[in-house]
């Protein structure tokens, strides 16, 4: 059976420190839904959904030059709550550039756009649930939530997993970032679950003479019991 969302792990819809939640989060209790075939299925996008360089954001936005910033490798495993790998899962990634500016018309932050950095990419997990991206470390940027508010460096990830019930959109943060302790979006996550959003520096992922490596493992809602055979 699929496990439901664990609200000890998931942020509540309304978190007053994060102002936009106050008018946008549902206020009435969610209605429990026993999973039907509608929730146990979902879109399937495998390796054939990828184009060359989709997983390499240092290359997929080049227009004649290298993107500016610190190259990084972000790799990890996608597993379910039983620790089983989730192979063939599409990860979509998007982020700000090294200067903390998004490639988006409504981003008005006065920081440079990088003509050689697009900021979006995707990859698919292998048979053991592993994924690997090459990208540029994103910069922090100001936002209007509160006085002198700055978002910590982060990457946005979107995953489907095997069904709509495992759908996840999340953010990956960097270890040691002083802005984490001040960020209402990060602090909206229950205290014991926040560190799951912070990647670990990993020398085994780091590539010599090229880029530092960060490990970010992702656990999707899902089977927490070993299924019976047969």
């Amino acid at each position: 059976m699929m496990a439901d969302r664990d609200w000890n792990s998931q942020p509540p819809y309304i978190h007053e420190g994060y102002k936009s939640t106050v008018l946008r989060g549902p206020t009435k209790p969610l209605v429990p839904l026993k999973h039907t075939l509608s929730e146990r299925t979902g879109p399937v996008y495998g390796h054939d959904s990828l184009a060359e360089n989709d997983a390499d954001l240092t290359k997929n936005g080049r227009r004649g030059g290298e993107p500016i910033g610190e190259r990084i490798v972000v790799a990890g495993r996608v597993v379910d709550e039983g620790g089983r790998p989730v192979p063939g899962t599409l990860l979509e990634l998007w982020q700000a550039n090294a200067a903390g500016r998004y490639n988006h018309d409504i981003d008005r932050h006065d920081a440079p756009l990088d003509p050689n950095f697009f900021g979006g990419g995707r990859c698919v997990t292998d048979a053991d649930g592993h994924y690997r991206f090459y990208t540029i470390k994103p910069g922090a940027y100001p936002w209007g939530n509160h006085a002198n508010g700055w978002r910590p460096n982060h990457l946005h990830f979107s995953l489907f997993g095997p069904s709509i019930a495992t759908r996840l959109v999340t953010q990956m943060y960097f270890p040691g970032d002083p802005l984490l302790a001040l960020d209402p979006i990060f602090l909206g996550v229950p205290e014991g679950a926040r560190d799951r959003l912070v990647a670990a520096f990993d020398l085994a992922i780091t590539e010599p003479d090229f880029a530092l490596g960060y490990r970010f493992d992702i656990v999707l809602n899902g089977r927490s019991q070993t299924p019976m055979e047969g």
Binding site: P11, R24, K28, L30, S38, I106, G120, H156, A165
Partner: protein, 195 residues
């Protein structure tokens, strides 16, 4: 060893070039657009609506996804063993930032009942800035009153709130349009499910 769920986080306001690049005019192929892959012919319907915040304002930076069975009630997914129609994708994605009225507008077909027990329905998932976890709801069809009355999921919803799950059927320009406005808050707050 315990494997605990990775917490959800908001999709933010700047998702467009990562998730809906073609809709917003970015030079990056989309994995899905606002038209469900494989729909064609007379059976095509439009599903449209807006997402309203607690102040009654239409949200211009929401992302809406739909997932549904085909006209015969089959999902394009390995878990649906009856599936033989692998050309109907069943999934579509639309941001509310490119329409002057801040609508999401999908082109799809009306799904059949997936199991003979549930009424025809479309799964709808809402993301936006200010929403730390996506919100899951379902669209039901107004002309299916008898099936809706017998639907087990609909029956689990307080009676006074069931109407928020039923779209409005319109005929426009010779086509069928189902309007499904989503209210995040207020007296008419849409029913969202814990999935």
């Amino acid at each position: 060893m315990a494997f605990k769920q990775t917490p959800s986080q908001t999709v933010g306001p700047f998702f467009a070039y990562g998730l809906t690049p073609e809709q917003y005019g970015y030079p990056f192929a989309s994995i899905a657009g606002a038209t469900v892959a494989g729909v064609e012919g007379d059976a095509v319907i439009t599903v449209e609506g807006r997402v309203f915040d607690g102040a009654g304002e239409a949200v211009p930076d929401a992302l809406v996804e739909i997932w549904q069975a085909d006209g015969a009630g089959r999902y394009n997914h390995p878990a649906d063993r009856r599936a033989s129609n692998r050309t109907f994708g069943g999934f579509a994605r639309c941001g509310t930032g490119t329409d002057p009225e801040k609508r999401f507008v999908f082109r799809t077909v009306k799904p059949g009942s997936v199991d003979g027990e549930q009424a025809p329905h479309i799964s709808v998932i809402v993301f936006m800035r200010g929403l730390p976890c996506h919100a899951y709801t379902r669209l039901y069809f107004p002309e299916e009153a008898a099936a809706n009355a017998a639907d087990p999921v609909m029956a689990s919803v307080p009676e006074a709130r069931r109407g928020t799950l039923v779209a409005e059927r319109l005929e426009r320009d010779g086509g069928i349009v189902y309007r499904f406005d989503i209210y995040m808050q207020g007296d008419n707050e849409t029913v969202f499910f814990d999935v």
